[in-house]
Amino acid sequence: MQGLETFYEVMRRQGITRRSFLKYCSLTAAALGLGPEFVPQIAHAMETKPRTPVLWLHGLECTCCSESFIRSAHPLAKDVVLSMISLDYDDTLMASAGHQAEAILHEVMETYKGNYILAVEGNPPLNEDGMFCIVGGKPFLDQLRFVAKDAKAIISWGSCASHGCVQAARPNPTRATPVHEVITDKPIIKVPGCPPIAEVMTGVITYMLTFDRIPELDRQGRPKMFYSQRIHDKCYRRPHFDAGQFVEAFDDEGARKGYCLYKVGCKGPTTYNACSTVRWNDGTSFPIQAGHGCIGCSEDGFWDRGSWYARLTDLHGVGFGIEANADKVGLTAAGVVGGAVAVHAAISALKRAQHKEDNGSNGSSRTGDAA
């Protein structure tokens, strides 16, 4: 364990040149939507501030967040972030094993008491006293509570840590529980998505390490800089939605013309994430661009809202036509630009309608909810 080195010292030790370092500072400023005038500020902070260690714990999860993270678009950004956080404790990647790893964990907690960031991938299952996720002979829940105790802040990576995700889907056999329901006395930054976009993950962590503060969060605890736009609003297929041109089946005429995927279950209109702008795998694409609807994986409860493939045209049967429905959503959104709360109201009404339909009951009061 190194003493209280600065970020810059750590980077130099990792073989990153001064030139690369400055380039990294400009990239960071750009990624965070800051102007060039912030570059010297970032550089100064990195040169003078002691490195903040990040402890990365894995609970009940599938490792998709780590997988996403290690493939951030800009190799430089990834290298720097990796060297910066050093993954002091990440049991998927680190070199040491067993005892040695536990020792590192304890040492970081001791040396940086109250000053390290805890990143959690996955969540603790509460049933059977936490038996369903045992780490080092103890329930993950115990490890989480133990490490959280002296953390400065907690990052909940992905939908598991933020919301529960599919493992918490009915009947939630293990009672998988999001982090904020277990740790209630620490600031928690939720970075939902299954998985979150790599650049969003590095962006959040860079912001926190550089500015030594938590990014501005929305009411659900998500960083506004990445979660304030609807997939739908920035979707390149949006004109087809507005024109009422829809794909009805994968590989039909509409699919070949790149029409809107709303009728094959796209949840873009109800999902807040950066997929349609930042995109995936080095900005290559995102699910909608590959012809599949958004499944809304960054939204709380996305796993229990009825089938992802349910055709929303089914709503015809209860007197709520697709075009009318689509228009209503569109208009509501347009009328309250920036007003996420109001849009959410309309959207949750839509979700409820869908859900009721799935359960075979008649949801006749939903239009009232949306008003």
């Binding site: 493939r71 067993g98 369903f132 599919v166 889907a169 998988a176 994968f250 795998n281 290559t284 012809g291």
Partner: protein
């Protein structure tokens, strides 16, 4: 981790948590005279995917099942799509088949690359090997997260995964694979980008990993040829591994049953790229899926009275039970444990080098690693052909309709081996969904007859150095299987 004395004068070691494996793993060892005498493998993470799939719209398996694993999500997605296609009686379009092969192969090759560079090789850069002649090179190339080969491999992998980005929108948790094909067709421009991506990956592997054309690796045909490569072959990480393997006798470490299972990988118009079958002491045989059953005797699961065929399986955790030591059920084929993975695929497919290796010394740590590298070369060559075979403008997804009742198995090959989803649909909903993942086979606990799983057997005889609490030989053996613990139990 702890060490204490077990009754018979043997030492008991509990090794875990393991790092550099996917998910959580714990191994209990009983040792005497510096050797492992018995091993008990425990998968300590359970989520209950099979349970939460029940009662849902069958199509939702395409979204839920892949989330079992962020590493093997495309394989899980493929197995789910095959099971759904089976129930619908649907075959994918030609473009859909080829694109799906490309997607599954991309993930499998990416996994092989991560395994070699990130998970397996860093063990040889540890201080305890500092006196070996190859150590300085191993350290420079493979020190965890710092070695030059590790960084380069992660970049190559990122490049490779552009294929999944381009054809399927994103990775992990790709959504594009459907029962009738894929949700996106490739146009001519995509084909050029795919070909360029594969060229870049080929270039990187030929330069650093193999130091030679992929074809030369794929054409290795005997242990003698492999020996020549080690002695006078091109410089590269492959040759470095062969040197290390010879020095540490990895060809005599970690032998299991030498009994292999492959469901056949990458469907073709007639036969799959890698054949389907079993390979045992009696030679090749067919896979009789009706003879597959899971035994719960030592799993913390209800239903111990008899083995269950996966169409008839259940997943009710029973945490109170004392005899159970893992959440993992014990899958058996014809009552016997089988090993699965690249070594199984290449043996069943008749690759001469892998056959020769296993015939001479059994399925060792070395055989598993070499099989993975040979397969990496072979698969990349096949992928170049598939890109060529994509037909812009032609159908990429066939449409089907879901009957109210039906059942089917979706069998595919993930990087780590044979993956099966057994789906039962009743009244238009999922009535049963059972999954047997590759590491479920490899890291299975003992069955009712007390027969250990493949890893449990492979660990027997592993040397323990004086003072070792996490024996390095045990780590080599465990990692040679490239375990994926989150898939194992799901």
């Amino acid at each position: 981790m702890s060490a204490n004395s077990a009754p018979e004068g043997t030492t008991r070691l509990v090794v875990g948590p393991f790092n550099r494996v996917e998910g959580d793993l714990e191994v209990r060892l009983e040792a005497a005279q510096g050797r492992v005498e018995a091993a008990f493998v425990s998968s300590p993470l359970f989520r209950g995917f099979e349970r939460l799939l029940e009662g849902r719209d069958p199509r939702d398996a395409l979204v839920i099942a892949p989330r079992i694993c962020g590493i093997c999500s495309v394989s899980q997605s493929h197995a789910a799509a095959l099971a759904l296609a089976g129930v619908q009686g649907l075959a994918p379009t030609e473009n859909g088949r080829v694109a799906t092969n490309l997607l599954v192969a991309t993930e499998n090759v990416a996994d092989h690359l991560s395994h070699f560079h990130v998970f397996f090789m860093p063990d040889f850069a540890r201080a305890l090997y500092a006196d070996r002649p190859w150590f300085p090179r191993a350290e420079a190339r493979f020190k965890a997260a710092r070695g030059t080969a590790v960084r380069a491999a992660l970049e190559t992998r990122t490049t490779l995964l552009h294929i999944l980005g381009l054809l399927a929108g994103r990775w992990p948790h790709t959504l594009a694979i459907q029962p009738g094909g894929v949700t996106r067709g490739a146009d001519s421009r995509d084909k050029m980008r795919l070909a360029a991506t594969l060229r870049a990956v080929r270039g990187a592997l030929e330069e650093r990993l193999f130091g030679a054309k992929l074809e030369r690796v794929a054409e290795l045909d005997s242990v003698a040829a492999l020996e020549r490569w080690r002695a006078t072959g091109p410089e590269g990480d492959f040759r470095l591994f062969l040197e290390i393997a010879a020095d540490l006798a990895l060809d005599s470490l970690g032998r299991a049953y030498d009994r292999y299972l492959s469901y056949g990988a990458y469907p073709g118009t007639e036969a799959p790229l890698y054949a389907r079958g079993i390979f045992t002491g009696e030679g090749l045989g067919d896979v009789d899926t009706s003879a597959i059953a899971e035994d719960h005797t030592n799993a913390r699961m209800e239903g111990r009275t008899r083995p269950h065929h996966p169409f008839d399986g259940s997943t009710f955790p029973d945490a109170e039970d004392d005899t159970g030591y893992s959440w993992c059920k014990a899958p058996r084929l014809g009552g016997l444990p089988f090993e699965t993975g690249a070594v199984a695929r290449q043996i069943v497919d008749g690759h001469p080098l892998i056959r020769d290796m296993v015939r001479r010394a059994g399925g060792s740590v070395q055989a598993r690693v070499v099989a993975r590298l040979v397969e990496t070369a072979r698969t990349l060559i096949a992928m170049e052909g598939w890109v060529h075979a994509l037909r812009p403008g032609e159908r990429w997804c066939a449409q089907g309709s879901m009957p109210g009742h039906g059942r089917a198995a979706g069998l595919t090959e993930a990087a780590r081996g044979a993956l099966g989803h057994w789906l039962r649909v009743e009244n238009g909903r999922i009535a049963g969904y059972q999954i047997i993942a590759p590491t479920t086979w490899n890291f299975s606990p003992r069955d009712a007859a007390g027969v250990p799983g493949p890893l449990e057997l492979a660990l027997v005889g592993a040397p323990i150095r004086p003072g070792e609490s996490t024996p390095v030989a045990v780590q080599h053996i465990v990692r040679s299987f490239d375990p994926c613990m989150v898939c194992t139990v799901h």
